[in-house]
Structure formats: structure tokens, C-alpha cells
Amino acid sequence: MSSGRLVTFADTTIEVLARDQDALKLVDFLFARFPQTTDVPPCLELELASDGSSTFVLWREGSLVYRDTTAVRAAQLLLAEAAHRFAVNSRDALLIHAAAVELDDRRILLPGPSGTGKSTLVAWLDQYGFGCHSDEMVIVSHDTRLSGYARPICLELDARFVVPEFLDKARSEGRLLEGTDALMAVGRSPISAPPVVLHCILFPRFSPRARTVLRPLSKGAAAMKLMISVANRRQLGDHGFSAVADLARAVPAFEFTYGRLDKEAISHMLGVVVP
């Protein structure tokens, strides 16, 4: 007998089932921050089971797709399967490779391709009270409302040297999943229920030894940079380009260059949020 949860994002719902307590614990860890709705029937069924020896088995639509995977690997596979389905089905709003955080009801979009340090930045910001809507992917509708792909913050092992306090706290509070090559942590700071309106766009740019600089971007430059991060631009067709231009017109954008996550960096971030 399986239990599980419905997971909704970008007007698409999937069902993630768990065959046992270990699997259910992992599913809850991964998808607890996603809205659950019964309005949209699920278009995909994923099912997870523990084999009783710390490894997991994953089925898609009843067919075995992965076995003998560790908890972290199973988590990564589940999240990837879900993200892929959400992206394929996303045809109306902008699906952007971006993190999104909020502080005091002000929401900041942090666009950038995978592997550019968004997750580490979000984990660091969590320590200062910034709630995490997503560390990877967001939907932005035509009225600049944002919904985040609210998975746990997914970090590489190097993060242990950059955000040790965040990881220690997450570990002590049972919000951390640790593997041999990756870490996942649920953020501590609260977020508003999505969708929420954007306050500004910050394009993070890590450059070793660089001084922290916050530079306003023209609307044209912001549109150019956003266009690179739109994941579903082909599905959206011409509408996607005009939607990006509308977003750049409506929301102020900055380039945030940093070499260290320190007091100077957080003071720049707070300067954006607190007028």
C-alpha cells in the first residue's frame, strides 16, 4: 500500500508515492514546501521504495527506472524527473533558471544557469532571514507574480567551506540530507505563499577576489540576460520574448558582483531590499 503527496508547480500536478516509511520520509523532505492541490489531475506518477538497506528504487508510471540508489541520489532523480515534467508542460508563463528569495515581503529573483552558485548564495542568505522560494527554477507570470520550484537547497560538498554555519544549523535541526557527493537542506527562513510579486531582479556574478559591486542594469541589458535564463523559450515562441521584455520593463534589475560572501555582500543585498 503506497502513500504520498500531490506536487503542483506551473499549473501541472504530479503524484509522488512512497511504498514505505523511509520512502515517505524522503518524499516529505523533498516536496513539503510545494503547494498540494486536487484542482489539477496528476499527469505523472512517480513511486519510491526503500529496499531496507539504505538504497532506494524508483518507478515512473509503474515502470522501474532506477534501483540501488542512495537517498541523496534518489532525491536528485525524483527532483529531476519532476522538474523535467514541469518544464515540458510549461507553455504559458516564463520558466526561468533562477533562485528566488524574499525578506520582509520583498521578493528578489536571482537568475543564472545551473552551476553558477545560486544555491550557495541562497543558503548563505537564509542565515540572514531571506526565505527561499527556490534555488533553481521559478515561474513568472505576465503580472510579475512568482512561484518557485520549492525543492530543498541543493549544494555541492564545497559548500561546507562556504556556508558551514548554515549546514551545522540544518544538521542539528534535522533539515539536512547528506550524501557522499551532494547535500540538500530545507531553508529555515519563512516565505509567503506563492504566487508573490517581484521586487527586483539581481543577476549574481561570482568572481574570485572581486569587490562587491551592485550595478543598476538598463532594461535592455536586463532583458538580454533574462532571455539567456528562460528555460522554456522554445515552447513559448514569440510570446516568450515579449514576456521577457515586459518583465524587464516592470521590474528594476541589477548586476551583483561578489568575490566573498561577507558583511559587505550582505549590506549590498539589504540595500536592495530595504529602501
Binding site: S218, G220, M227, D238, A245, R249
Partner: protein, 89 residues
């Protein structure tokens, strides 16, 4: 590009004006180009009829106090060419 060439905008590009800038987007290549105000005017002149020399003359008449118009036109056309945004008519 030579003074006698007649650059023409390639079809298929999408454009959006944002304040003083224009974004050109090529949906086939998923590539975008941001034009400043000067470059956006030069883009508008690339109709396949005007030569490069015509463009320079027209801009000199319209903006007599402007700086190095020859260079502006040359750099803009070079950027358009690099993004395959124009062809020689």
C-alpha cells in the same frame, strides 16, 4: 563593409524597444543583441536600399553635432553581421 554595400535587415528577428535600447532576438538561434539608441537608428536604416555611404550622410545631416558617425556606423554594422542580423542586398 564597403561604402557601396546596401545592408538589409534579415527577416525573422523579433524586436522590442526598452527605453533607449532595442533588443533583437533571433528565435531560430536563441540569440539576442542589445542595441543602444544610435545602433537602433542604424538598424532602422538597413532597408536594402540605402548604401553605407547614404547612411553616414543621412546621420551627419540629422545629427550635425554628433561625434564619429563613421565609426558608429561601422561598429554597428559589424555587430549586426556577427549576429547574422543583416545581409548585403
Amino acid at each position: 563593409m564597403k561604402d557601396s554595400d546596401r545592408p538589409q535587415r534579415r527577416t525573422g528577428f523579433l524586436t522590442q524597444r526598452l527605453d533607449d535600447e532595442v533588443i533583437l532576438y533571433d528565435p531560430e538561434q536563441s540569440r539576442a543583441l542589445c542595441l543602444n539608441w544610435t545602433a537602433s537608428i542604424i538598424w532602422g536604416l538597413c532597408d536594402g536600399a540605402a548604401t553605407v555611404a547614404d547612411m553616414i550622410e543621412l546621420l551627419r545631416e540629422a545629427f550635425p553635432d554628433a561625434g564619429d558617425i563613421d565609426r558608429d556606423v561601422s561598429e554597428a554594422l559589424e555587430a549586426f553581421s556577427q549576429h547574422a542580423a543583416i545581409i548585403k542586398a
